[in-house]
Structures are given as C-alpha cells and as structure tokens.
Subunit: 383 residues, 2 copies
C-alpha cells in the first residue's frame, strides 16, 4: 500500500518551487522509508547516517525498508553529541562515502536528532557539489524544527553553526513511534518549539496545547500528530515566504535571543536548547508586556503552559556583563541593535530593534559586587 502501513499520517507540503518537498508525520513511517526515498530521489544507493544509540534501535528497520525498495543501503555511524558537528566528522564522512563507492546516484538519509540532520545535510550539500538528502528525525525537536528550513551546518571552535549551507531535503519522515524512547526532559524540551510556533503565529494551536498538554506529553498519537503537523506547517509557511532568512523568518527567533546568550554563557552544558528557549520566550513575553506591545496576562499564560510541559521559565542570575557579552554577537559592535522578537498577544509577533543593554537591564542580576567581580573574571576566561 502507498503509505507502507503508516498510522495517523499527516503530510505537510513545504513550498519552495522546484525544491518543494513533503514532511510526513505518523506512526510506523520507518517502514515506508525505502519506498519514499526511491519515489523522491530515484537513487540506487542509500547511506544511512546515524549515531550508535539510535542506529542500534532503529537502524535495522530503516535498512530493511531501504533494501526492500531495491536500494543498496549501508549504515554509517557518527559519534553522539553536539561536539560531533565539526569539520573532522564531515571529512570522515566524505572519505567513507568515497570508499563505499558513493556517486551522484546516492542519497544520504539522516536518522536521528538535530545534530545528525545538520551534519548529514551539510555533507549532502557539499559532496560532489550536492547529492539528495532525506531526513528521518527521531526527536520531537528535529521533527518540528530541524526538518524544515534547509539549514545545515557544523560548528567551529569559535562558535556554533558558523559553517553551513542551505540544502533542502527531498523528503522528511517523522515516525512518532520513535519518540517513545526519548527521555522525559528531551520530550519536554521538544515541545518548546511547538509552543513557540503557536505563540508567534496561531492562537488556536496555543489553545489546543493548553487543552491537551498532558496527553501530548504522553505522546498520544491522535493528539500529537495533528499538533506536530500544525507546528511544521507554521514553520513551512514562514520559511516558504522567506527562504533566506531576511524578513518574516526572523519571527522564528522568538525566545532565541536570550536562549542563545544563556547557552553561550553556560557553554552549552546547562539547559537543553528547548529549555533555554522556554526561558527566553517567557522573558520576551514579559518584555512585550512592559513595552506595551502585548496585553497584560500574555506572559503569565505562556509561563503557565511552559510549566505544564515541565519547562523552566526563569533566567539564571548571571552577572550583567556576562549577559551583555553573550547578547552582543560581535563584541566589536556592542552598541548595535538586535532585532528582538516581541509578541503582540498569543498568536502574533513582530520584531523590535533593541540594544543589548536594554535587554540585559531586565534580566536578573547577581546580588553582591564581589560576586559580580568574580563573574566577570570567569566570563573572560570563558569568552
């Protein structure tokens, strides 16, 4: 059958002219992988790139499906963790592909979370000047966020995602049954991007999240799939209007200004990305109220929803100069303004140019000047 036994299937079209593709979400989609890859790429060989824990659990089913569709398929494991997203791994993958005889009739399939998707996507964007690429996200975050937008990239020692390319996948298959093995904290963090999509774009989705938070956290497919599909649809709509991130796509950064600062300050060892985004969203909602952009009560409702999903909502009390430093992307341009995303209510947003100092002024700060002095010294060493 056409859907390969998939259950509760939803399909979202990402409209990008001749680079358009479908994001499919549902249960049992892993079994449909081979058929979709053949239909969307016409490839004869597939390379399944994954990390060991995901590969052990879902690799055999993915490979079986690819081979059943007539593809020669091989699994390539990369180490787990964000440190993997670097040029060394990219180069190792090039060599592994060439050693295995990969050519322009090959397709790369990323099976895993955002790290695997970003890394594999970048290799697909640049190997032989671009080969087709299919994403099989196995985390909530990757299903709703990394699977739309075509952003691929790796980290340099100077920072995250400093190298990359825009390379659209040919297809995205999100099998929600793979989410069952996701630890509770990862699960909660994934919902942060769903909440974000609702907050900036869709009041009805926000209501739906409020009505069914617990069922969604339990991954009940009939509730979950339509909600994820709507979040993907929102991102796809925004990205289709603005593929290269100049205008409306900026709204997707809601909550991310502070989130990135917190992540940089903690060297990515504290909060998960989704957790930092929740903190950033609640902070941004409070600023939206204070600046008169959003009605009173907006931040409180957002905060309550985040808390029901088990997400943190208060910013860590770092030294102000540490926040300032992390907020100013280019340290030589400390006074240049950031396009900060504010809510106009739940379901609508816009950008507002703010100086880093205006943002930092509203953040919690350390109490004593001695502690601040120490904070500065530490932040310098870490800068």
């Amino acid at each position: 059958m056409a859907d390969g036994g998939a259950r509760t299937l939803r399909r979202v079209r990402v409209e990008l002219g001749e680079r358009s593709y479908d994001v499919e979400l549902g249960g049992g989609l892993l079994e449909a992988l081979g058929e979709r890859v053949v239909a969307q790429t016409g490839a004869s060989r597939a390379w399944l790139v994954t990390v060991p824990p995901v590969g052990r659990r879902y690799g055999p089913r993915a490979l079986r499906s690819l081979k059943a569709a007539g593809l020669r398929a091989k699994r390539l494991d990369v180490p787990d963790g964000d440190a993997t997203k670097n040029l060394r791994q990219v180069e190792k993958l090039y060599h592994a592909l060439l050693e295995g005889g990969a050519d322009r009739q090959s397709v790369l399939v990323a099976l895993g979370g955002g790290v695997v998707g970003d890394l594999t996507g970048f290799v697909a964007a640049t190997f032989l000047r671009g080969v087709p690429f299919v994403q099989v996200p196995t985390t909530l975050l990757a299903m709703v966020d990394a699977s739309v937008g075509g952003k691929t990239g790796v980290n340099l020692k100077e920072g995250k995602n400093l190298v990359g390319a825009f390379h659209q996948p040919r297809a995205v298959l999100g099998d929600v049954e793979t989410l069952a093995s996701l630890p509770p904290r990862q699960r909660a963090a994934g919902f942060a991007e769903v909440i974000k999509a609702a907050a900036i774009w869709d009041a009805a989705l926000f209501d739906e999240l409020e009505r069914h938070a617990e069922a969604l956290l339990e991954l009940e497919a009939e509730r979950l799939v339509p909600v994820l599909a709507r979040a993907v649809e929102i991102k796809a709509e925004v990205v289709s209007r603005d593929e290269r991130e100049q205008g409306v796509r900026m709204l997707l950064n809601f909550g991310h200004t502070l989130a990135h600062a917190i992540e940089a300050r903690s060297r990515y060892r504290g909060l998960l990305h989704g957790e930092a985004v929740a903190v950033g969203m609640v902070f941004a909602a409070r600023r939206s109220e204070a600046l008169g952009c959003a009605p009173v009560g907006t931040a409180e409702r957002l905060e309550a929803l985040c808390q029901r999903f088990g997400l943190p909502t208060e910013a860590p009390a770092y030294d102000r100069s540490a926040y300032l430093e992390a907020l100013a992307v280019d340290k030589k341009q400390k006074d240049s303004r950031i396009r900060f995303v504010v809510l106009e209510g739940l379901g609508a947003a816009r950008t507002l140019p703010l100086a880093p100092s205006e943002i930092a002024a509203a953040l919690p700060r350390k109490a004593s000047s001695r502690a601040r002095g120490r904070g500065r010294a530490v932040s310098r060493r870490q800068g």
Copy 2:
C-alpha cells in the same frame, strides 16, 4: 565615472533569475573593483583572497580600489598551486575570517586563477551559510571558464573537486591587462576553452579565431576582449539554460572526457588542463568524423587552429588498460556508458553514449606486450 577608467569594456549578463550577475571584461577594471563590489553587494568589509605572486603584483591596486570605495579591506594569501584547493585551506580561511571579524556584511573577493576562485568560492558558499563573492580572474582560463557556472570546490585525496557547492558570484571583473604577466604556455592553454566554445556553439567565432590567432595570442585588447566576451556569452547561455548540469550543459564537456583521463593518468603533472582539452577536442573531432556525425575535414581544421595557438593535439601513447581505467570514472561500473560529446560540424555538438572501450579502441597504444604489462602495474600503483 561609472566605468572607473576601464578600456575596451564588454559586459555579459549571466541570467539566473535573482542570482543573475555581470561578467565584465576590459583593460583597467581593477581600478573599478571597489565601486562594483559596493554596488553589487552592499558589503562593508572585503576580504581579498589571492596567492603570493598575484597578490604582490595586483593586490595593492585591488586593495586601494576597495578602500577608496569605503570598504574595510584585508588581503589573505593562500599558497599557490592546485594542492592548495583542499579542506585544510578552507578551514584556515574560516579561522582567518573569524579572527578578522568577518560577518554577513562581508564579501570575499577572489583575485587569481581557477584555484583561487574555486577555493574562495567554496568558502563563500559555506561561511555563515553563504556570504557574497566577487571574482577577479587573472588568467585567461579563469576569465572564460571558471567565471561562469557557479561551480566552486576543493579536492580530496581521492580526486579533484569531489567537494563543492554551486554558489554564483555577485560580479566577475576580468581585467585583461593582468594577462600580460601570464607565461606563454598558460596563455595558449587558456585559448583552448575559447576554441571549445566556438567549436560546440558558434561557427562565426571559430572563423574569427582562425582570422586573428596571432593577434589574440599577443593579447591585443581590441581583438581579445570581444572574443573573450563571446566565449563567456556562450558559456553563460548554456549555463542559464541548464544551471545544474543535466542537459545542454553537458556539451561544455567537449574534449574533456579524454582530457580528464590524461590528467588522471599523469597525476596532473604532465599537460596543463587547456593542453589536455586541446588533445581531447581533436580526438573527439576525429571520432565525430569516424562515427559519421561530422563532415570530413572538421578534425583537420580544429587541429590546425589548436596548433596555431601552440596547443598539443596528439594523445600520449599510454597502455590501453590505463586509459580504460581512467575513462571509467567508477571502476565498479566499467561497462557503463559515457555521454561523449561529438561535433556535428564546427559550431554544433551533441552527446552520444559510448562505452569506455569504444573510446579507448581509437586511442594510440603502446607497441610491445611487455611495455603493456609494465604500464598496468604502474597504473595500479597510481590508481
């Protein structure tokens, strides 16, 4: 003045939708660089990437022009030679750019031949997921060939240009006065791609090359600029119709099937690329006659023109198995056919599927079987 004092200026538009750009050819264009970069990119900082010999000769003029247009400009030197086109250099450039504070308002300017253009273009394609890129080719080959098509790339130990991206420049400025320092052999080799453009596409250009071969080799600007502009126009026309190299763009491979085999067989230490292309073109023209595609006399006329430009026309007598191995790109698919480009006369071409063995059968071969045995052993060590 708008043309910054440029002489005998010709402008060719490369039509690629919103990625369209102009290739300008003429004398004194280096002085117009800064103005063009600002007009085409709106950048505030420029990074001039070059190799030491070219940088010493033309770097100061290029930097002066960039700075006079209000840009903060800095020169970055990479080592000379094709071995430079590797991932190590790419990574070094990323770090140098970040150390110098490069951001999305930065433009990369490639000053030099094809190696500098390919390397700089790939860095521009991938740094911060893509920054603008301007090409200032200083060789004939780069002016007519590398400046159109958007191909960027680097080599891996397994082969040339195995990694890359399609990234169109914002502008190409070919200052023909920089050609004066080109050694005679490089100059001749550059004309091979001009002859190729004429042979596959434009009988009138072929006539023009026959009429003025000597004046062109002397780089007389009034003759040279229109001829180069026409060659660029032909490539631009072909590429505009077929940006991603599926159909008509294949014709640009005329002479290249054998050229690549010769280059691979000699490990790129024998003939220059343009010389190998001349050999490949004459061979392909002879095959075109033998296969009944082109009228008798086609190959002779092409051979005579190549010789007037000082280009070789006879293939080296390698062992047949060595040629076969080099012709079969994927050694596991020795019997798969190559889309070989044949002439239908001077000024028109098409592709014809041929097996590597059909091509190799017409090549000169070593005489004794002992020599052939040795050739095989050598070719294996080199494969």
